[in-house]
Symmetry: C2
Subunit: 363 residues, 2 copies
């Protein structure tokens, strides 16, 4: 195959069946029909997926590397996901493990418009890790959320994101919420940057972006596996000035390796910051998975800008030194509930979190 995308699957199979199973995956993810019924030699040669290698990694577990024709993908993020795992996602003996892209395809998607360095610059943090918290719970009014934002900012936090559950509900409509929070932040001395959460379809998200831009904001969050990866790709292209944070909701990561989906693909499609569940929190990712995910987001990869890894999900200020030892300075620490639990001491707790990150010895 002249120009190919290489895809690695992890497959559970008997050793005697793995060759046929690997070939079936290559066919499912390309022509999806019996190959012997294809009378066009060009299609058999250039379009049908080819098994490049099969490696046993443990008894009954194999790595299958498949070459897919880049012609079948074109330039659409949704179609890339479709060709990587569309039908095979319905077969529970397979995990989508990794991809290797041709350089031209990576350049065409383009990755983050801003990336890690721009997120550092925006809050004047040259070398240290960045800090982040979340506005919640759902059900608060715009004024109450704005008050929380103000207190986080007074504690010196770098970024504040909406809880990913905040959409456009009647108790805190997007436009009213964003205006109130942006105003509260302008009234502080802080350089804190607020990242509201987009929801709905592409038109809804455009209206929300207009409201955010009107309020002077320069960053937004969305969940690519709910919004559709093509929506992420479109917003990246149409709003090049916007910083985009990706949330992992619905990433159902048990079937797609998190380092690939969140670290590589979300970055490829344009996320500047990628939120993921850190090990030892409320979610089941292992330290190895988290390390690989952060690596995938930061790695030199086809010249794309680095996306900043944002470990989250039940983190506490007490874990800051351990997390920084693990992730280093190229990370944004996101602590939500544990700061909010401080209630009337929220500003002081935030300040302590911020100080722990600033004072950490990064050498």
């Amino acid at each position: 195959m002249r120009s190919a995308l290489h895809v690695t699957y992890h497959v559970r199979s008997d050793a005697s069946a793995i060759e046929a199973r690997a070939k079936a995956i290559a066919v499912e993810q390309s022509v999806e029909m019996p190959v012997e019924a294809i009378d066009d030699a060009r299609i058999r040669d250039a379009i049908v997926g080819k098994v490049a290698s099969i490696t046993e990694i443990a008894s009954g577990h194999f790595t299958v590397r498949v070459a897919l024709a880049i012609e079948t993908v074109g330039s659409d993020a949704g179609q890339l996901l479709n060709m990587l795992f569309g039908n095979t996602s319905l077969q529970d003996d397979v995990i989508l493990h990794d991809i290797e892209l041709p350089h031209d395809m990576a350049a065409a998607f383009g990755g983050p418009q801003h990336g890690l360095q721009a997120l550092r610059k925006r809050v004047g943090a040259a070398r240290r890790a960045l800090t982040c918290s979340a506005l919640k719970p759902q059900g608060l009014s715009p004024d109450r959320l704005a008050d929380l934002a103000r207190r986080f900012a007074e504690g010196g936090i770098d970024y504040i994101k909406d809880d990913h559950g905040l959409a456009d509900q009647s108790y805190a409509p997007f436009a009213a919420r964003v205006a109130a929070i942006a105003k509260a932040l302008r009234e502080t001395d802080a350089s804190t940057c607020y990242i509201p959460s987009l929801s709905g379809d592409l038109d809804n998200m455009r209206t929300q972006i207009a409201a955010a831009t009107d309020a002077g904001l320069g960053a937004v969050m969305l969940a690519p596996m709910i919004a559709g990866v093509a929506a992420l790709q479109r917003l990246r292209r149409d709003y090049p000035q916007l910083i985009i944070m990706a949330h992992p909701a619905m990433a159902g990561a048990a079937r797609i390796a998190p380092p690939l989906l969140i670290g590589k693909l979300f970055r490829l499609f344009g996320a500047d910051a990628v939120v993921f569940p850190n090990h030892g929190g409320r979610f089941g990712y292992s330290p190895e998975t988290c390390r690989a995910l952060a690596h995938a987001a930061l790695n030199d990869w086809h010249g794309l800008r680095a996306a900043i890894p944002v470990p989250a999900g039940g983190m506490t200020p007490a874990r800051v030194p351990e997390m920084l030892a693990f992730y280093g300075a190229d990370t944004m620490l996101l602590i939500g509930g544990a700061l909010l639990s401080a209630r009337e001491k929220l500003t002081a707790e935030t300040a302590a979190f911020v100080a722990a990150v600033k004072d950490y010895d990064y050498d």
Copy 2:
């Protein structure tokens, strides 16, 4: 909780831990923060998810029923999915099993604009099962695809869908492909209806719909888990005249019960026809799962129109009687590769498939 959405999860857990685990899921899918840090009594009462019941279904396996506030969902399909399984999809001890919607929410989403009866009427099939095939492989030119379509139509098939891998690739761009196929079908006497596959973001899909409409077509297919469920919802609303078929690509159904995702939710958001992998084909769904899925698509449910179940994935004409015995007349049988394997006998094989469906004794 005054007005609630009830969600059922299947959870793996020790009996001693299930109460805490169930409560943690209810919190994760609502406020996503420590409840004791919420000082607003209204939020604790009306917004925090509540565990309604816990039932042991097998040793170490529980059904957990959670009540979520409908206020947190609003009217967006993406946000509904987010509140049902957003963060919990990242925890591998939980499967999203089922939902019970308040009637008003079901009516607001509205379900299929056309549904099963309209798909019957369009092809003049009052009582029997419907037939469908697929245009593939990828890599064929518009003319070659149009020739296949003509031969399927001459065999008397009701519906022809694009392979879900056909997007807007250079070898068969959407507009050129759709025009060629529609023209080929107009030149036959058949009432065959062609369903092209949409891809890309909402704007791309609108452009594709314009091309399909220009070509005189009245039906389209999309994969809601790639396009985003909000895109399905939007197309349903903005193009009420269009029949919409939902494809299960990326449905990663191992973590969301297929009867819920494909049978109920795709129907709720507006799919008129739902494609799913039949048992005994290339995919791992059991007969029980398939039966439950078809039931969920057809069932009387809040007065929504029925979506027609479309079992597929490696089916053969030889299986027609068995499939009709299993699904009855309210189904569309989709056979692709097995007909295409007939090559120069494609029309005759299609005619035999069509005859088997028409001649089956439905009483």
